[in-house]
């Protein structure tokens, strides 16, 4: 820590050195800290920190993914999409890929489906084999990305 500042702001803001030392000595009582407590404090800190950091990284990735998908969807809607003859609530039998990608079974493929799979992966929870969207035998980030891509396409036009 920085040493005592010998240049107080005003002459009545200082104490004589002897008094200063006496007050400091009086209040510096030795309190031994057990090494086990040091280790416990540091171990707890690192453990909870690593857990929070993983969550932050996931949030960061998802935020970027969601923001990107949203921007693409908006751009497509504004500049590319032609009015569809099918109303949004039309009952159209979606192809199998979209059925699989509709993870939460709400009748549409959107970024929420991607988020569900990403969150499950990040939490190391059991993964539904049906979420292997790309068919490579494993449920991973590639499947999350594919769901996001399908969500953008679905926003452009309903699946045939």
């Amino acid at each position: 820590m920085a040493g005592f500042d010998p240049n107080p702001d005003a002459t009545d803001q200082d104490l004589p050195p002897r008094l200063r030392d006496a007050i400091a000595r009086m209040h510096r009582v030795e309190v031994p800290v057990p090494v086990e407590l040091d280790q416990t404090i540091l171990a707890d800190a690192k453990r909870s920190f690593l857990g929070r950091r993983r969550a932050w990284m996931l949030i960061g990735r998802l935020s970027i993914g969601i923001a990107t998908a949203a921007l693409v969807a908006i751009a497509v809607r504004v500049f590319v999409a032609a009015p569809s003859s099918h109303p949004p609530t039309a009952m159209v039998q979606p192809p199998k890929l979209y059925q699989i990608a509709d993870v939460n079974h709400d009748g549409r493929v959107d970024i929420l489906d991607a988020y569900i799979v990403a969150r499950t992966i990040a939490r190391h929870e059991p993964l539904d084999p049906a979420w292997d969207i790309n068919g490579d035998g494993v449920v991973d980030q590639k499947d999350v990305d594919l769901i996001a891509t399908l969500a953008v396409r679905a926003a452009r036009e309903p699946p045939q």
């Binding site: 005592f4 200082d14 104490l15 008094l19 031994p32 800290v33 407590l37 800190a45 690192k46 920190f49």
Partner: protein
């Protein structure tokens, strides 16, 4: 004053660099921050609580509180300025809890900060008695300045009061000491 040397060599990175390292995922910086401020925190906690056991509890809670802020923590003041109110509030809570459990019907001092050292009554140390007689707010500023070695601006920030108020309280505390016959000898050359 170091109660026990840390197991690793001191880290010479600044607090800002350590905070940045922690935010970037360097968990070794936890050790550096902890050992740099451990003794300061435990001494301050002991001053507030008067109990070594409570001081160690406050030590643990203080660093748990600090480390929970990572990643994403932004250090906007000196670390001691940031930690002071944390230690103070945790110490007050610890002291109240101990008094409740002890069935002690002594009223808590209006401000439990900077209470007189535990040995004041036993040693009849006149200086300790004089300090205990100061208003709590004056005594606290005095001890932050001359025991914790905090600058006036730091004290103001830690207590969330204007710097002018800090100067005023310090002035009154010093004037009270100077005018007290029991400690006047310290002011005489």
């Amino acid at each position: 004053m170091c109660d026990r040397d840390p197991p690793t060599p001191p880290d010479d990175r600044s607090d800002e660099a350590l905070v940045a390292a922690l935010n970037a995922g360097d968990t070794s910086a936890f050790d550096a921050v902890y050992y740099r401020y451990r003794d300061w925190v435990v001494h301050l906690a002991h001053r507030f609580t008067g109990s070594a056991d409570d001081a160690l509890d406050v030590l643990q809670e203080t660093f748990a509180y600090l480390f929970r802020k990572f990643p994403g923590f932004v250090l906007t003041a000196r670390m001691t300025t940031f930690l002071y109110p944390v230690v103070r509030n945790l110490s007050i809570a610890a002291r109240r809890k101990r008094q409740r459990h002890a069935g002690d019907d002594l009223t808590l001092a209006p401000d439990a900060s900077a209470s007189a050292p535990p040995h004041a009554e036993q040693s009849r140390d006149e200086l300790a008695v004089v300090l205990a007689g100061l208003p709590d707010t004056h005594r606290e500023v005095l001890l932050m300045r001359f025991v914790d070695e905090m600058a006036l601006a730091q004290i103001a920030q830690a207590l969330s009061i204007p710097e002018g108020t800090v100067k005023s309280r310090l002035h009154h505390a010093i004037a009270a000491l100077r005018n007290d016959p029991r400690v006047r000898e310290y002011f005489e050359c």
